[in-house]
């Protein structure tokens, strides 16, 4: 069991795909249930994985390692493993998948079968990215996620869906090419594609690390997206259907930050130390820029999309603080962002389903007609702007703390500027809340809007519970990641020592 649980978690959605293929085409409800059930079982499987996870062990666990095929002496392996850096992300993925599927119940009405199939395939790719420990396998999963997402945006998206889908595809593809070259180089040079082996070897000279770091960073920075590579994100979000937006923001973007964490810090620690101030600079620009631009948006979804850019700036700043607090905060903030931004997209989706518009000017005073909706939105909004006691604060504060005292970043100025971002977050988040919920209820079309139904409550309440849980007692979450993060910190600091 232990050895195969990761394979199960990764590939179980395929079972759902097969069942979906055989369902008669008029039985759409059965398709929805099949997909949902598959996602739930996958989530349960990931919980079983969690139960077997030993948090004090910093190395990979539950490893499956078989030779897939060989090119000469170079083995390409089927190599799955989980450690503290990835376990939370796997759980986040399987968790959000369930909620995202719940949100599609009435939102997706045409080509249900295809939608569900793409969605489950997307889950395979995403989980595979976080579990794949062979560079080649990782790359396969990495690119694989593009395909379902491309279709999800391109088929079920809004008016300019093709434009957005192609842009999304091309941007991320362009970044991946450089990464592929770097992967091939690494494999040929190091004689292995195994990530832990490459990390252990640390055999790459510093100046070469620099270029390889940049090649990987190109792929990841576009995915995150870091300023100024973000221009695909608002398009993709605005056009994508709600469920795809949730996964796009909640999980897909984390592939980028996870990539930085796993590859750039692990394989190129010296380059990481050297480039940390630059990454921090771009992260801080992203924080402030995203916050300022979000404030000027008229479309709620776009506002949330730019807010994502700002939040992911925090994650990057935390990761490249290269100390314990920064990294821990960065990882937790990935989860927080997944939860709160995921919830925000769900919330926007619910509104869109009712009114078929996302222009903020069309709303106002919704609190009066939809009090439960407003209350939950308030909590999510507050979590997103980092109110203490909710999850966002724990992440943001530890990131600020880490980056303020970071030797690698080298200047307190970045953390102080990032803290300004906290003020700006309040500005745009409260602006959004005010535009939607406060003020007089003067639009006739809004006077009859129904409050949340049970299914919608079911999609939001689990997130809200987690928001409180992480905010009030984040110990279990930090505990899962601690050992692995300590290992990374040691690796990086010994690299920093070696540079001196």
């Amino acid at each position: 069991m232990d050895a195969w649980i990761l394979t199960l978690v990764t590939f179980f959605p395929i079972v759902g795909v097969i069942v979906l293929l055989f369902l008669p085409k008029e039985r759409e409800t059965a398709m929805r249930w099949t997909a949902l059930l598959t996602a739930v079982i996958t989530f349960v499987l990931s919980l079983i994985m969690l139960a077997g996870f030993e948090s004090s062990d910093p190395d990979l666990q539950m490893v499956v390692r078989l030779t897939w095929f060989s090119i000469g002496d170079l083995h390409i392996e089927y190599f799955l493993g989980v450690d503290g850096l990835s376990i939370l992300l796997v759980l986040l993925t399987t968790f959000l998948m369930v909620l995202a599927l719940l949100s599609t119940w009435t939102a997706i009405v045409d080509r249900v079968r295809e939608f569900m199939i793409f969605f489950l395939l997307l889950e395979v790719g995403l989980v595979g990215v976080f579990l794949g420990m062979d560079l080649f396998l990782f790359y396969v999963f990495w690119e694989f996620t593009l395909v379902p997402m491309y279709f999800l945006i391109g088929v079920w998206g809004g008016e300019r869906r093709m434009y957005a889908a192609i842009k999304f595809f091309l941007y991320t593809m362009a970044g991946s090419i450089l990464m592929l070259l770097a992967i091939i180089w690494l494999g040929l040079d190091g004689g292995t594609f195994s990530i832990p082996d490459l990390i252990k070897a640390q055999a790459i000279p510093a100046n070469l690390q620099f270029w390889l770091f940049l090649a990987f960073a190109a792929a990841f920075a576009i995915k995150v997206p870091m300023w100024p590579f973000h221009s695909w994100l608002p398009d993709a979000h605005v056009e994508a259907p709600t469920a795809a937006s949730v996964i796009l923001a909640g999980v897909l973007l984390k592939m980028g930050t996870y990539g930085f964490l796993r590859f750039n810090l692990g394989i190129f620690p010296q380059a990481s130390v050297r480039l940390a101030p630059w990454i921090a600079l771009f992260a801080v620009i992203g924080i402030l820029y995203g916050a300022a631009v979000a404030y000027a948006q008229k479309d709620v979804k776009k506002l949330v999309a730019y807010a994502s850019i700002s939040h992911l700036g925090f994650v990057m700043l935390g990761l490249f603080a290269l100390n314990l607090q920064g990294l821990q905060g960065g990882i937790l903030q990935m989860i927080n962002h997944g939860l709160s931004t995921g919830a925000l997209f769900l919330i926007v989706g619910m509104l869109y389903e009712r009114r078929r518009t996302r222009e903020m000017d069309a709303f106002g005073g919704l609190w009066k007609v939809m009090p439960i909706y407003a209350g939950l939105t308030l909590i999510v909004t507050l979590s997103s702007m980092g109110l203490p006691g909710l999850n966002g604060f724990v992440g943001e504060f530890t990131i600020l703390l880490g980056s303020f005292g970071s030797i690698a970043i080298g200047s307190e100025g970045f953390a102080i500027l990032a803290a300004v971002g906290v003020i700006l977050a309040a500005v745009y988040m409260l602006y959004m809340f005010q535009k939607l919920f406060l003020g007089p209820l003067d639009n006739e079309k809004n006077k009859r809007l129904p409050d949340l139904n049970r299914r919608e409550l079911l999609t939001l309440v689990p997130i809200v519970i987690l928001i409180f849980w992480i905010g009030l007692y984040p110990r279990p979450f930090f505990g899962l990641t601690e050992a692995s993060v300590e290992k990374v910190v040691q690796l990086v600091s010994s690299a920093a020592m070696a540079m001196r």
């Binding site: 300022a292 631009v293 821990q328 507050l382 504060f397 003020i423 500005v427």
Partner: protein, 677 residues
């Protein structure tokens, strides 16, 4: 019961209000207004009982205790716990918060009953008490948190409640959105203060390696001179936080707007408790302030300046609550100044006394407002834009609302500092200390005290004396007992509150000595008391001369000319901020969004630079290769491809047998190759 056992009850302090709010969220609709009010008030009442128990425990064991509840954030060196610190300072605050808070809760049951009907949404009644209980819980966490970070949770929590309660009637106010905007303004300005608080925490952690108050102070003491720079930086940033929360220069602009909330909110949050959090926080950090160099001076200057500035603005206000709001800012300035000159006990003393009489003033103002509102409805006058807060529509209420008049008068005299009311002792202690430390601060404060007496005299005369200036005022009626009873209790406290630290006995000073080390014993300076009392009386007389003698059409002080214009426009501070920051930020963000992001990055870079150059590059390559190849006599690349494709296409006949032949040919060839090799 041992002290230890009593201390261990401390978590209940926060638990009770939380419980109350949970009950009201779940069952608020079913409980009815009475039930909701009882649950909420009982929750705070129980918290008050716990606070008294803590006080008793402290009499047994003055050193206090730290109650650990659970871990919070533990990463490497960073160890922050959910822990409550019980010492004399926090108990003083919690007694005040739960005591005054409880009274205001009771008052609010009566007030909100009418308010939700005037505003037209009775279903919002339970929500008010949910927020109120949440506020009490957050405030208690703020005063009991044992580290900067736990304090910060309460700090932001009260800010959140303030936001929610200011925009409680979110569809009302100017253009229907005024209240919501006021709430947002309060939150954002508070966030600017929080920014300072956060930076202070970051410095503290990286300098002292911990965020727990006790450890930081011990460490700072041990380091001695080595900690001066850090302590100065930390306290300066903390000052930013305090300025935000306690509405000091330059961040005071949110508090007057916050009057958009229902009156009990103004009393509880924006007068008695939340706004004093900044003072509490600075006093908590007395150990650092003692070490720091520049900060105390800056604090004293800011406090004194705020006191004077706000007092001057209050003179020209017509909204009954706004007068009180500026008065609050001014009094907070007194307290901040007291912290700056090292008179920590005086600051806390004034904080508590101020909580009594300012809560009293606000609540009675609420009573006045509702009285007038009732009158408005009874008189059945259909004036558009009737504003029950406007003092110009009042007058002569002395006879119609007797109880309210008397308690208002007591509150006002206490604020003005007429002996032997509470305000006299507490203000005097500050002034006496100020004279010792810095005469300049002293004179500024005396000036503001004079203005205070003047605008309070003006207010009382405008509201209660003279003839009614509107039909509503003529028909005004007294408030119900549930509202008057808390007023009476607060009035008693305002009268006797001075006893808390009466000269000679100094119970508060001795009480706080257990927490704050090296306190000076304040002296009662008779000359100071005499001067301020004399000035107060003088100011009241002046007010009577100006306002009391004849019916008022225009404000007589208008004759001050440009000075009047300045204070009428609040010294243009709001406008200046709008011009300097708000509109700049809005245009910046629009510029970034529309020009930098949309037009430049999105459209130009993507569509023009990337997409079009790609097309252009391919065209260029194609045409150049094409031409060169033709020049050399070859077919063009495109033509070649096309022809090749055409040729290959012909092979694709679609006839399966042709394909079979092809396979067959291949097979024969492969076998031949194998045989021959």
């Amino acid at each position: 019961m041992t002290a230890e056992a009593l201390f261990s009850l401390a978590p209940l302090l926060i638990l009770f209000p939380l419980l109350g709010l949970v009950v009201n969220i779940i069952a608020g609709r079913r409980l009815g207004e009475r039930g909701v009010g009882i649950v909420a008030s009982a929750a705070v009442g129980l918290a008050f009982v716990i606070a008294i128990l803590q006080f008793i425990a402290l009499r047994m064991d003055p050193s206090g205790a730290t109650i650990h509840i659970a871990d919070w954030i533990v990463i490497g060196q960073l160890e922050v716990e959910w822990a409550l610190q019980i010492d004399t300072l926090s108990v003083t605050m919690m007694l005040m918060v739960t005591g005054v808070g409880g009274l205001i809760h009771i008052y609010a049951v009566g007030y909100m009953h009418d308010d939700v009907r005037f505003q037209g949404d009775p279903s919002r009644f339970p929500r008010f008490f949910v927020y109120f209980n949440l506020f009490i819980a957050a405030m208690l966490l703020l005063v009991t948190g044992d580290s900067y970070l736990t304090m910060f949770v309460g700090w932001e929590g009260v800010g959140l409640c303030s936001y929610l309660l200011i925009s409680f009637w979110y569809e009302k106010g100017e253009d229907g959105i005024g209240n919501a905007l006021a709430g947002k303004k309060a939150f954002v300005v508070n966030r600017i203060g929080d920014f300072g608080f956060i930076i202070a925490m970051l410095i503290t952690f990286w300098f002292f390696g911990t965020l727990t108050f006790e450890e930081v102070f011990n460490e700072a003491e041990a380091m001695g001179a080595g900690a001066v720079g850090a302590a100065t930086a930390i306290t300066l940033f903390l000052l930013v936080g305090a300025a935000g929360k306690s509405a000091q220069i330059p961040l005071f602009v949110w508090l007057p707007d916050a009057m958009a909330g229902p009156t009990p909110v103004s009393a509880l949050i924006h007068a008695a408790t939340m706004v004093t959090a900044g003072i509490y926080m600075l006093v908590r950090n007395a150990a650092l302030l003692e070490i720091a160099t520049v900060t105390p001076d800056i604090i004293a200057i800011i406090g004194a300046a705020t006191a004077l500035l706000a007092a001057s603005i209050a003179v020209a206000r017509f909204d009954i609550k706004r007068v009180l709001a500026y008065s609050t800012i001014s009094q907070l300035g007194f307290m901040i100044a007291a912290v700056g000159i090292g008179a920590y006990v005086a600051a806390i003393f004034h904080l508590v006394a101020h909580a009594f009489f300012k809560a009293l003033l606000f609540l009675s103002a609420g009573s006045v407002i509702q009285g007038v509102e009732h009158g408005h409805h009874r008189a059945d006058s259909h004036e558009e834009h009737f504003n029950p807060n406007d003092m110009r529509v009042m007058g002569g209420l002395r006879t119609r609302m007797k109880a309210t008049f008397w308690v208002y008068l007591i509150g006002a005299l206490a604020l003005v500092g007429i002996p032997p009311l509470a305000g006299f002792f507490s203000k005097d202690e500050i002034l006496a200390d100020a004279l010792l430390v810095s005469p300049a601060v002293y004179w500024v404060l005396v000036g503001s005290a004079f203005l205070t007496a003047f605008y309070m005299g003006r207010q009382i005369l405008m509201v209660f004396f003279g003839k009614p200036r509107s039909k509503a005022a003529e028909a005004a009626e007294e408030s119900p007992a549930v509202m008057v009873a808390p007023l009476v209790v607060l009035a008693i406290l305002s009268v006797g509150g001075g006893l808390i630290n009466s000269p000679g006995l100094l119970p508060l000073t001795h009480f706080l000595e257990d927490t704050l080390e090296g306190l000076r014993e304040p002296e009662f300076v008779a000359a100071v008391a005499a001067i301020s009392t004399l000035l107060a009386v003088l100011a009241i007389v002046l007010a009577w001369l100006v306002y009391g003698r004849r019916p008022m059409a225009h404000d007589p002080v208008r004759r001050l000319g440009s000075l009047w214009t300045a204070i009428r426009h609040r010294w243009w501070v709001d406008g200046f901020y709008d011009w300097l920051i708000v509109s700049r930020y809005i245009s910046l963000s629009h510029w970034l969004a529309e020009v930098a992001d949309e037009q430049f990055l999105h459209d130009w870079v993507h569509d023009t630079v990337i997409a079009r150059s790609f097309v252009r590059a391919t065209n260029w390559l194609a045409s150049v290769l094409d031409l060169r190849l033709i020049d050399r006599g070859f077919d063009g690349l495109g033509a070649l491809t096309r022809r090749g494709a055409g040729g290959l296409g012909a092979l694709q006949t679609g006839y399966v047998r042709n394909y079979a032949v092809a396979v067959f040919i291949g097979m024969v060839l492969v076998v031949s190759y194998l045989l021959l090799s």
